[in-house]
């Protein structure tokens, strides 16, 4: 495939278009991702820091520094990935392929947990299951007189559950996008074979969307292993450490080199998993479910199971979205974090400055910054979502259409790495690399552009993974028939691949949007003080102990995210008339 359509005489020494495209992609990734990562690596190799490697991997501290947290992390990663794929896959199937009632609502709710910060989900867990180990307020169940054992209050089990409750929506989003394009005759063929619903789901629907399942598993795995809030809140009281809490702590107490070594090791381990996942989907199998024979999208009737399955879905949504959202909203209204449902006041939202409350902080809507910050944050979110989706699309296209060989392997791995790099390290590397002028390029320090580029690189994995999963489902002959017309690469991408994969691309874009809206570590390092974004404002409040204000801002972010989701769904429905059934 050629990037530019150069008509003219045959040139016998033409270089292979596919190779060119791969090299271009690799160059982009090299600049965006590999360079900052290498910088982090080199930082651990400097004479003063290199000892960190032996400390972490083999010294007497290695057990507590690395091995035990690594073990916990892997359990979390694998457990969360499996749980998320199962729950997300189940809900996606229910929403996309069946006639379950209120499926739009379920579909919307299932995308929310990822937009709710994981600390809120962890708090929700605590407010139900917390026991007296730590002291302070105990949870609802102990309040009823039940005695909750430590393993249910603290440590691995609640962390796993909370992380699954938080991340399954990622898997849902990706898998739902893929399932929306599954030709219903594949399912019908399974029905004809006499298979029951569960068998069809596990035997045909999920396997045929395997790229999406793997993408969902990869993203949730990475999310779980790098999540700090949940293990810190729920694991620390029983001294459960993960790589993420270790990493955060080491950077926080100034042992940066050790922290970066841990990060690099985490990346290496995750890369192994990613490689395995990639191996599974880049074999000879095809996952082309959108074929050139105009497949129908049909909903399957659930019959008697309709209400029970709806109940299950509703329960999941209730537990993972409504409860945390209520807690979040309550904690933006309640003066005391230990009595979330009493003495509610709108002060933290709209109140004017009152010296007796929160040192005279006015409510967030009375804060002049909040409006400009909201605009700015959304601008940043939209800009990053667009650039990330565009670059992710091209990377995903290359991986999906030509995913074999070492070059593709490298592209795949490199484009996934940013997910595992601590934002602060990534941000620092970006300042160091792009802060100063490079050749003809001006210094980007303190500009919106730097944030845009860094945000793009940082969030690329989301769009690559989601994009790849859906593009793999578009049968190759659809692109080939467009090649026959003489259309160039970009033209085909825009007219054929993008519309067919649009649901997945939109899902990826939405995740990126939500993620950058909430991200702090990257933004705080790269942004200039004069341009506050919402997450920074929330951080300011939180760091002074004004959690209600911080939570109010989190709710604002959540509302924006939901609005964006609704908008995307709306556009989606309009732009895909052929999918109506």
């Amino acid at each position: 495939m050629s990037l530019v359509s150069t008509r003219g005489a045959a040139r016998p020494l033409r270089i292979d278009g596919k190779l060119v495209l791969k090299l271009v992609v690799l160059a982009i990734l090299g600049v965006l991702v590999a360079a900052p990562l290498l910088r982090i690596l080199f930082e651990t190799l400097s004479p003063g820091a290199i000892v960190a490697w032996s400390d972490v991997t083999s010294g007497r501290l290695a057990r507590n520094l690395l091995w035990v947290p690594l073990g916990n992390t892997l359990i979390l990663g694998v457990g969360v990935a499996c749980g998320c794929v199962l729950i997300g896959g189940f809900l996606a199937w229910l929403v996309v392929m069946t006639d379950v009632p209120f499926r739009r609502t379920i579909g919307l709710m299932a995308t929310l947990p990822f937009m709710i910060p994981s600390f809120a989900t962890a708090l929700a867990w605590g407010s139900l299951f917390r026991n007296g180990r730590v002291g302070g307020q105990t949870g609802f169940l102990e309040g009823l007189g039940l005695s909750i054992p430590d393993w249910l209050s603290w440590g691995m089990v609640p962390t796993l559950i909370v992380l699954i409750a938080h991340y399954y929506s990622l898997a849902f989003t990706v898998i739902a996008a893929a399932l929306a394009t599954v030709n219903s005759d594949l399912v019908e063929a399974a029905q004809m074979a006499g298979a029951r619903r569960g068998r069809i789901l596990m035997g045909i629907v999920l396997p045929v969307a395997l790229p999406a399942v793997v993408a969902g598993a990869s993203l949730t795995f990475a999310g779980a292993v790098s999540n700090f809030a949940a293990p810190a809140l729920l694991g620390l009281p029983v001294r459960m450490q993960t790589m993420a809490t270790r990493l955060y702590g080491l950077i926080e107490v100034g042992q940066t080199a050790r922290g970066y070594v841990i990060a690099i090791l985490l990346i290496a381990v995750s890369a192994l998993f990613l490689w395995l996942g990639n191996k599974v989907i880049s074999g000879r199998r095809s996952y082309a479910t959108i074929t050139g024979k105009g497949g129908r999208a049909k909903r399957f009737t659930l019959g008697n199971a309709r209400l029970p399955l709806f109940a299950v879905a509703a329960l999941i949504c209730l537990a993972t979205t409504i409860v945390p959202v209520l807690i979040l909203i309550a904690s933006s209204l309640a003066p005391s974090s230990s009595a979330l449902f009493s003495n509610w006041t709108l002060h933290y939202w709209t109140g004017a400055s009152n010296p007796s409350i929160a040192q005279g902080q006015a409510g967030i809507f009375s804060n002049p910054f909040i409006v400009s910050a909201t605009g700015l944050t959304m601008g940043l979110g939209v800009a990053v979502a667009i650039t990330t989706t565009l670059i992710g699309l091209i990377v995903a296209f290359v991986l999906a259409r030509d995913g074999k060989g070492p070059l593709a392997g490298i592209i795949n791995q490199v484009s996934f790495l940013p997910l595992l790099v601590p934002g602060i390290a990534f941000g620092a590397a970006y300042i160091a690399l792009f802060g100063a002028p490079i050749g003809p390029f001006p210094a980007l320090y303190g500009t919106f552009a730097l944030l845009l580029i860094a945000g793009t690189a940082y969030l690329l994995p989301f769009s690559v993974q989601t994009g790849r999963a859906v593009i793999q489902q578009v049968s190759g002959d659809l692109d080939e028939s467009a090649r026959m017309t003489g259309a160039g690469f970009l033209r085909r991408l825009a007219a054929i691949t993008v519309p067919l994969a649009s649901r997945g691309l939109a899902a990826g874009g939405l995740i990126v949007f939500v993620k950058i809206m909430r991200d702090l570590s990257l933004v705080v390092l790269l942004f200039t003080p004069t341009m506050p974004v919402l997450s920074v404002l929330a951080y300011r409040y939180a760091s002074e102990g004004f959690t209600q204000f911080a939570n109010a801002i989190t709710v604002v972010i959540l509302v924006i995210s939901i609005a964006a989701t609704l908008l995307a769904n709306q556009l989606q429905a309009k732009s895909q008339p052929w999918l109506k059934s």
Partner: protein, 344 residues
């Protein structure tokens, strides 16, 4: 036994299947033929339970399996039917053997038995060497055979075929139809078979239904249809080659004489002869094509929108555009009225 009563399927305002009633006994081999878009696949999909009728009923034996008037249909899984999809609908993520094996697994068959069955049907369809390939690694005709293998392996008691041999070469098609008939007979199943191949329809069918625009034009045995087409549509649709229908108004005067003016006259191709010069009872056409069939030559001529075909023992060589004079027999084989109804 399959009994279909007043079956209707509409997509919006459009009736893809429009009030069809017919029934065939158990063990029958019902062939559906009809022009592209007449509702054949829709019929099969309703028989399979994949589509709920908009009206009418389908009964297998004494059991009503779909009732369009009440809007319900028994789940495909509980009908013991198999369907070869027109689009194959192979599972792209399973190998050829995997595709055939999965339904057997669902049926709860033991592993060794399954392996034997898979090997058996793959061999029967000549695709055993491809067992480990994936659907995207085999040719169109090979894919089609995998679709057939997958359907017949569990030996369902109702076999539904949607143009199952359309992408096979003539030789293989002849062999395959023998195999399919053998399966049909061996299992005592009832089959419904959609095809565009006249020879297939004639040799395989115990019953043929000719559909047109969602309705049954004629339902009967293959011989019936060829010998006694009930409508002009059937006359021009069935047969290799099908009969010619010439409006009385364009007939040579000597042939039109005793016929009603509004009618159309049917002539069988083998009753025509050709001549290089106009003679009595001849009509001039532009030569279109000639092809050897069964040791004879099939000649086609076109004149405006009228197309005529003659099968002759020996034909002079014509070039495209030559005038050919088709000589009509004294009396037409049948006469049809203005609305296609048979007059005599």
């Amino acid at each position: 036994m399959i009994r279909i009563e007043n079956l209707v399927k509409s997509f919006g305002a459009f009736n893809a299947v429009d009030d069809i009633s017919l029934s065939v006994p158990e063990g029958a081999f019902l062939v559906l033929v009809g022009p592209s878009g007449c509702g054949k696949s829709t019929m099969l999909r309703m028989l399979a339970g994949l589509e709920t009728p908009s009206g009418g009923t389908i009964a297998f034996g004494d059991r009503i399996v779909s009732d369009g008037n009440r809007g319900w249909t028994i789940d495909p899984a509980q009908r013991d039917t198999g369907l070869v999809f027109q689009s194959y609908a192979l599972w792209p993520h399973m190998s050829v053997a995997g595709n055939v094996d999965w339904p057997l697994k669902i049926a709860g068959m033991a592993r060794p038995e399954r392996q034997a069955r898979v090997a058996e049907v793959l061999t029967m369809l000549g695709i055993a060497p491809l067992a480990t390939r994936y659907p995207n690694e085999i040719s169109g005709g090979q894919q089609q055979r995998v679709a057939i293998a997958r359907m017949i392996a569990p030996r369902p008691s109702i076999l539904l075929f949607d143009e199952p041999l359309s992408n096979l070469d003539a030789k293989l098609r002849v062999e395959m139809r023998t195999e399919l008939l053998r399966v049909h007979r061996a299992t005592g199943a009832t089959s419904v078979y959609v095809t565009h191949d006249q020879v297939e329809a004639m040799t395989m069918a115990s019953h043929v239904a000719v559909l047109n625009q969602g309705r049954v034009e004629q339902f009967g045995t293959p011989e019936d249809l060829v010998r006694n087409p009930a409508t002009a549509f059937v006359a021009t649709f069935v047969g290799t080659p099908p009969a010619n229908l010439v409006p009385v108004s364009v007939l040579p005067r000597e042939r039109a004489a005793s016929l009603p003016a509004q009618a159309s006259a049917m002539y069988r191709p083998e009753d025509l002869s050709v001549s290089a010069i106009p003679i009595e009872g001849s009509l001039a056409f532009d030569f279109a094509e000639a092809s050897p069939v069964a040791g004879r030559t099939m000649l086609t001529g076109i004149s405006d929108s009228l197309r005529i075909t003659a099968v002759v023992d020996a034909a002079p060589r014509f070039a495209v555009g030559d005038k050919v004079h088709f000589v009509l027999p004294e009396a037409p084989a049948a006469l049809f009225g203005a609305n296609g109804e048979r007059l005599s």
